[in-house]
């Protein structure tokens, strides 16, 4: 779907991006992860046709984005960090305008606006002026204009920017729905936010891609120790859990720990009571990602597994380690004068 080769962007004499090369397949959801100033927005603006690259080539769906940008823009829906809205228009009028601008026929636009308002839950504000909408609704309207013409490629720059926690969850759910129909590129500086919705991550720093892969692949490459948290249900043990100081002394938890110790590579195990979940959470440290084996061992042992995940804190530390490593490499190559 997308093939970028040697893509670079300079603002004046300052390098903002690249040269970077990457390929993105049709139907993929790819996250561009990086700290502020890493080059995420520049990359996405080039892909959306808003900016021209200083060097390199970019082919989108067989069309050359530099020689024929109009053809590429037909395929793209773009939501920048600040949604491109006209405050003096109503939601309905704005979406009709955006659809017509993208080449839709008037009759198709009306039908599609109704569909998109349904999908993105904008029906309640369809007649409101955009200037009167809350930040969350503005972001939704921005997303609606990006999908109004059913683009093959959807590019979202920090879609959860300025949203409250409830709105972030809603936005994540929306992205989950949209990924069934579009190839999606999404940027963020927040790893947990992006890793839950993306098949693959491209980690950027200083305008360069410093790592790429799925969340488990990145973790496997960069984590020395995996910290896996698994929660099991303990039926009829509510009062017992209230009084116990060490969950590992509870017989079912002790049995689960014994079973987990039989897995290759498991180093340390601790347990904590989780009365609100009606069970206990067990923290397992291992040299490799052993989530599949842990799940299998516990289920075969007759335990009710209610949660199993790689510790989010660990993923954050992978990201920070990648960025720091890249900074150290740059300092080594270009020591301060």
């Amino acid at each position: 779907m997308i093939s970028a080769s040697g893509l670079a962007k300079y603002f004046g004499g300052k390098r903002a991006l690249g040269p970077v090369s990457f390929e993105i397949g049709r139907g993929e959801t790819v996250g561009f992860l990086g700290l502020n100033g890493a080059g995420k927005t520049t990359t996405l603006r080039i892909l959306a046709g808003d900016l021209r690259p200083s060097a390199g080539s970019l082919i989108v769906n067989g069309s050359d984005a530099i020689r024929d940008p109009i053809a590429v823009r037909r395929l793209v829906g773009f939501l920048p960090e600040q949604p491109p809205l006209y405050p003096d228009m109503t939601v309905d009028d704005y979406l009709c305008f955006a659809g017509r601008l993208r080449g839709m026929a008037p009759a198709d636009v009306k039908r599609r606006v109704a569909d998109v308002e349904e999908l993105i839950e904008l029906k309640a504000v369809r007649g409101e002026l955009i200037r009167n909408l809350s930040q969350g609704y503005r972001q939704r309207v921005g997303l609606a204009q990006a999908v109004i013409h059913e683009p093959e490629l959807l590019i979202l720059d920090e879609p959860a920017h300025d949203l409250d926690p409830a709105q972030i969850v809603e936005m994540r759910t929306l992205l989950g729905t949209l990924r069934e129909h579009h190839t999606i590129l999404v940027s963020s500086h927040n790893l947990p936010e992006i890793s839950q919705t993306c098949d693959r991550l491209l980690v950027l720093d200083g305008g360069e891609i410093i790592a790429s892969g799925s969340e488990p692949e990145l973790a496997a490459r960069w984590l020395d120790t995996f910290r896996i948290e698994v929660a099991i249900r303990l039926p009829n043990s509510g009062s017992e859990m209230e009084s116990v100081s060490d969950a590992a002394t509870l017989p079912p938890v002790a049995a689960a720990i014994t079973a987990l110790r039989s897995i290759d590579g498991v180093r340390g195990i601790t347990a904590r009571a989780q009365p609100q979940e009606g069970g206990a959470s067990i923290h397992v440290e291992s040299g490799e990602d052993r989530r599949a084996e842990i799940s299998r061992t516990l289920v075969e042992g007759g335990f009710d597994v209610i949660r199993l995940e790689l510790s989010r804190d660990e993923l954050e530390s992978v990201f920070l380690e990648l960025v720091r490593g890249a900074e150290r490499a740059r300092d080594r190559d270009h020591p301060a004068a």
Partner: protein, 243 residues
């Protein structure tokens, strides 16, 4: 063409929805009425031929049309860039030329409406004095050509900056400079006098329209100025994609 029409329609609606358009229309109509009164009926008017009054009316209103054109045009792209809505246009399958033309024609249609709303004043002369339809038609053609040229200058200024005030100052300075070329020409010797007079946006090129005489060279001049600044605006907008 389709994209131009879509952008034109949105911009025209924006003029009708925002107070700015109505304020500009009201001020132009009020001042043109007052100026007409001063020229035709006021204590300093004296005895004048109707055609002379009409010529003076077109001269006065040309200044109002130029100022209105600057005010209406400088917001066209500054606001888009300030609010970030320009990204919608930039990432749609629309050429930069279509964006510039859509915005220009919207401002031109609105300015034409305001200008033609002053038509009742010359019609009073037609009913009560001795002026021809041709004089009125040529005078209004001149006003619209001048207005179009100044709109193009203002639109170009609006591409240069995100700040409406800075764009207004730039557009005003460019237009003012082109107005000043005419009085400057009168104090210059040849060949500069001829060059300045030929480039001045008022004076030689508007005087024919004022008295109801249509010269092709004046029409070509205004259309050329309009084309030149619209081309500059398009090229500058395109160059922004590199920055």
């Amino acid at each position: 063409m389709r994209a131009i029409a879509i952008i034109l329609q949105r911009e025209l609606n924006a003029y009708f929805k925002a107070p700015l358009g109505w304020v500009v229309a009201a001020v132009v109509l009020l001042l043109s009425g007052l100026l007409f009164y001063a020229e035709a009926l006021g204590p300093a008017a004296g005895a004048r031929l109707s055609a002379d009054v009409l010529a003076r009316f077109f001269f006065s209103v040309s200044g109002l049309v130029a100022i209105a054109a600057i005010v209406l045009s400088v917001r066209l792209l500054t606001e888009e860039r300030q609010s970030g809505s320009i990204v919608l246009l930039h990432t749609s399958p629309v050429r930069d030329r279509d964006i510039v033309l859509g915005k220009f024609f919207a401002a031109f249609v609105f300015l034409t409406g305001i200008t033609l709303a002053t038509l009742y004043l010359p019609l009073l002369l037609l009913v009560n004095g001795k002026v021809s339809w041709g004089h009125i038609a040529v005078g209004y053609l001149g006003l619209l050509l001048l207005g179009g040229a100044v709109l193009a200058i203002g639109l170009f200024a609006s591409v240069l900056t995100r700040n409406s005030l800075a764009a207004a100052v730039t557009g005003g300075a460019l237009t003012g400079g082109m107005f000043l070329l005419w009085p400057l020409a009168s104090v210059m010797g040849p060949p500069l006098a001829g060059v300045f007079a030929g480039l001045a946006i008022h004076g030689r090129h508007f005087s024919g329209f004022q008295v109801g005489v249509l010269h092709l060279r004046d029409v070509v001049y205004y259309l050329s100025v309009t084309y030149f600044f619209l081309l500059l605006a398009t090229r500058t907008l395109d160059a922004r994609r590199w920055q």
